[in-house]
Symmetry: C2
């Protein structure tokens, strides 16, 4: 038997509901194999912060590190000041565990209605840098609250940080049928960061000669995501542009109810983290209305990361089959989870 | 007679072609009135840079300042290193002339096919800040070209700069039927800049009590622009987010061939600048394929800025009428311009 120790951070709002179904599908995927999943739940998020003032302590982080992977639901609640949980918990996990590849597939499954009139075949993946850019928390303000306030946000980009994520993106592009990589940035304005990204893509391309590349400014990328999303294969981009583009990608492929993500530490010096792209959706929390599909697809990414490709494909196939038949029937979170688990169990 | 002195920067690529038609429509709009348009052409852009190494000299800037307004075609050419003309000419104009309101309507005209399956009634306007944010050019790199390179980009935001554009956006919202303003930022990550924007919107709201407001993170805004663009009335946002959202807005309302923009100095301490959102499109330059409509709609914004509301409405109405009948007929740049001018004269 192979033991898989999973840290579970259900978090806030619908997080608990969708994670429960994700775990049920994960169980179904490994049932009958020699894999054993054991889970440790971490009480992190708004409730904990209100009770203790803590977001993520060194002890929490140390304990999380001892796991093979992390399944995360959603973080954030309107009762907590903006930024506290995002910076103090979610981004702290991504940064502390060196999740430098934030992987977000953009795939339009059969049976899913896109808001685009003619989406075509949409099947790309965004490799979003996860540990640099404007997300580093390197900003501040002076004369705060006065008419003379100055607030800055510094985007930090290093050759080290850009190269490793670009290399990962090239490797993914090489392994896909179309072998195409699009760099998205804004190098005509953000000249220093942008030129670092551009030079890096050019340099790393030498090690992946089969991969063709092109470049789009981030503004133009939003146009193509609207008018011709099937042109994309692998997109590599910085932390903030990746945040923006992957929400747009989710929108054109059926919504954030379906959008999965993986925060990967490819060097495996710390556990990777798998989470739906959506947030905690406090407006529908506790009502069984949340779609657990994004979490289930994140479980599929988790299985892939653990080297369990067969199991990952079964989970993905279960989702694909379920989506074809969805139509207008409304099911609860638990019902969707149960149906997906049943399909995986097969 | 009232004289209007217009500085014309046709620029690169299709810039010349579309500006020619924009000027023809402008002439038609003022024909028979006591308005006299005189134009001064400025040789700026790639050709000038190749010939002289200059992008925008102090003398150019001084001469431009003496005009009532600027009509700009497009700036940029692949033969010029990325950033040189953008920073040295286009952004230099916006910054030097204090164009702190970058106004970009997002309107789906009748007869225009949106790539969205069910766009609904789309009629909003983006007030993009034009003189701050990550566009200030406050970045740099050290150890450039080595494995130890660090490149930074600093977003600079001031209470002064944010308040004046927020105030302008509120005034615009108040003058529109729906009286709604949406702030778009990312204050859960860019906490310092984001909170400055948020506090400012809250404070200025006191002076515009009729205007309702809401807030969206920039990533969520791209979702709503895809799934429910009719929810937007006025959007106020920073320079970079505005750049991204207005290209997406153009995409959902029929493409950048139709997207107009105004770089406004509301204090009138320097001439405002009117330009299509699209670029120089070198791939189709000189072939009569460019759609001059975006420039013509920018001329309508120019007329509005000069207080010529009737003329502005006539130009806009001409475009609206032309769009209803467009269908599949392909016309040259000059033909579209001629038809629009005829309708305006009409
Ligand atoms: C909640 C927020 C900090 C986060 C981000 O900006 O990365 C979210 O939008 C995401 O995309 O995972
Ligand atoms: C050309 C570029 C500098 C410019 C910008 O980023 O503002 C353009 O994209 C625009 O939107 O006008």
């Amino acid at each position: 038997t192979r033991n898989i120790d999973l840290a579970v951070v259900a978090g806030d709002g619908i997080g608990t509901e969708v994670v429960e179904q994700g775990l049920a599908v994960l169980d179904a995927a490994v049932a009958g194999s020699d894999l054993k999943i054991s889970t440790t739940e971490f009480d992190l998020g708004a409730r904990r912060w209100h009770a203790t003032g803590e977001t993520l302590t060194d002890t929490d982080l140390q304990r999380i590190r001892e796991h093979d992977a992390i399944l995360l639901g959603a973080i954030g609640d309107p009762s907590v000041p903006s930024g506290v949980l995002e910076r103090g918990l979610l981004l702290k996990l991504r940064f502390a565990l060196d999740h430098y590849v934030n992987l977000r597939p953009g795939k339009l499954y059969q049976g899913v209605t896109s808001p685009l009139a003619a989406p075509g075949e949409v099947d790309f993946v965004v490799v979003r840098e996860g540990t640099e850019g404007p997300y580093v928390g390197n900003g501040g303000s002076v004369r705060t609250g006065t008419p003379h306030e100055i607030a800055t946000e510094v985007s930090v980009n290093t050759a080290f940080g850009v190269e490793r994520v670009v290399r990962d993106a090239f490797a993914r592009a090489q392994a896909r049928p179309r072998q195409h990589l699009t760099l998205v940035h804004k190098h005509n304005v953000l000249v220093h960061a942008g030129h670092l990204w551009r030079r890096t893509v050019e340099a790393v391309n030498a090690d992946f000669p089969d991969v063709t590349t092109d470049y789009l400014h981030v503004d133009a990328a939003t146009i193509f995501l609207t008018t011709n999303p099937s042109r994309f294969d692998v997109i590599v981009t910085d932390n903030l542009f990746g945040d923006i583009l992957t929400d747009q990608a989710a929108a054109i492929t059926g919504g954030i109810g379906l959008a999965a993500s993986a925060n990967i530490n490819p060097d495996r010096t710390a556990p990777s983290m798998f989470e739906p792209v959506h947030g905690s959706a406090p407006d529908i929390a506790g009502q069984g209305k949340a779609d657990p599909t994004a979490t289930v697809l994140s479980v599929s990414l988790l299985l892939d990361h653990l080297g369990l490709a067969d199991e990952a494909r079964r989970v993905e196939a279960a989702v694909a089959a379920d989506l074809v038949g969805r139509g207008a029937t409304v099911r609860t979170t638990a019902e969707v989870g149960r149906d997906l688990a049943a399909r995986v169990a097969g």
